[in-house]
């Protein structure tokens, strides 16, 4: 239905900018552009970040699957493998604790005046991403392809109606949020 809009390049650049402005605004208002809030999460003393992520997942999931049912939205799950998601994921976690920001929140942190996010974080990330591009061809065959399982989703994996899993995931997430609140975290 909106495919005509999708192919308008100039309009998409503007929509991307607007969506980014909203996202950056929300990250800053949520407090996750602060090192203290991110490290507080990783030290399990401040659950702001998990609360934001989990409530975004529930709301996003219900809407995206609803619009998918209407044929208005195409899913785009990323392909995965043990090499990428387990080993890469662990290394991401280590980087996350050292830097205290992830790519999006680091950029947002610059917007709030955090100089460690600019001079350390984002400049470092540009170097790191460049290094990855340089080693990609060899790294891909050595590591990324290890245990490849493709771009599957849980409803495809378990061969069930997606709404069953949307309901289960939503239920579990709401329960976790309820527990966090009742523990005063």
């Amino acid at each position: 239905m909106f495919t005509k809009i999708h192919s308008k390049k100039g309009l998409q650049l503007v929509l991307g900018l607007l969506a980014g402005i909203v996202f950056g605004f929300l990250l800053q208002k949520g407090g996750v552009t602060q090192y203290d809030v991110i490290l507080g999460q990783l030290l399990l003393i401040d659950f702001t970040m998990v609360k934001i992520m989990l409530s975004a997942i529930v709301v996003g999931m219900i809407g995206v699957y609803f619009f998918k049912g209407l044929g208005l939205v195409k899913l785009q799950p990323k392909a995965g493998s043990t090499g990428m998601n387990v080993f890469g994921g662990l290394f991401f976690g280590i980087s996350f604790a050292l830097l205290g920001y992830c790519p999006g929140t680091a950029v947002g942190a610059i917007g709030s005046g955090y100089m460690d996010a600019l001079l350390g974080g984002v400049i470092g990330m540009l170097v790191g991403a460049g290094l990855f591009a340089a080693v990609y061809p060899r790294f891909s065959t050595l590591v990324l392809q290890e245990g490849y399982f493709g771009d599957i989703t849980f409803p495809e994996l378990f061969k069930v109606n997606p709404w069953i899993l949307v309901a289960i995931f939503s239920g579990i997430i709401v329960l976790i949020l309820y527990l966090l609140e009742s523990l005063g975290l």
């Binding site: 991307g16 950029v107 709030s112 591009a133 790294f139």
Partner: protein, 173 residues
Amino acid sequence: MLEWLQMKHWSPYAVGIAIGILSWLTFLFSNQAVSCSTGITQTSGMIEKIFRGKRVAQKAYYQKFPPVADWKWTFLLGVLIGAFLSALLSGSFDFKWVPQLWEQAFGAAVLPRLITAFVGGVFMGFASRWANGCTSGHGISGTLQLAVSSWISVIFFFIGGIACALLIYRVIG
């Protein structure tokens, strides 16, 4: 309305719900999922192009993620602008060099924090591409699509992150 935009903090649930709704809109109107680390890769490629010319774009990785300004790139630029607007409106914009938590554990010296952030940044730039996504692309956009790769990633982001944070603050600090 203005008073609300000037608040220093919003409830994490309000922020999360709004991000969820934002992702409906990006899927509907742009066929895009919220993601940040692709924009970092593109920027890195653009800078490399300035120094090493057009052949940079021929690298296998930049064939996959062309280093040009597309939706994902303007999105990341928007994140910078949006966070700045929010900080400005709430009067919380301020140049800070050393975060409070770091200062309590390791002191107010700027250099140790900058070096750690730079090393963490280089690792993060590499890791977010290694894992094929970051806290936005996997942590929010992929998980909400119920992608297997994203749920595995986000679980290992937190395992690695919690272990390393505990090591930094409970063992070393």
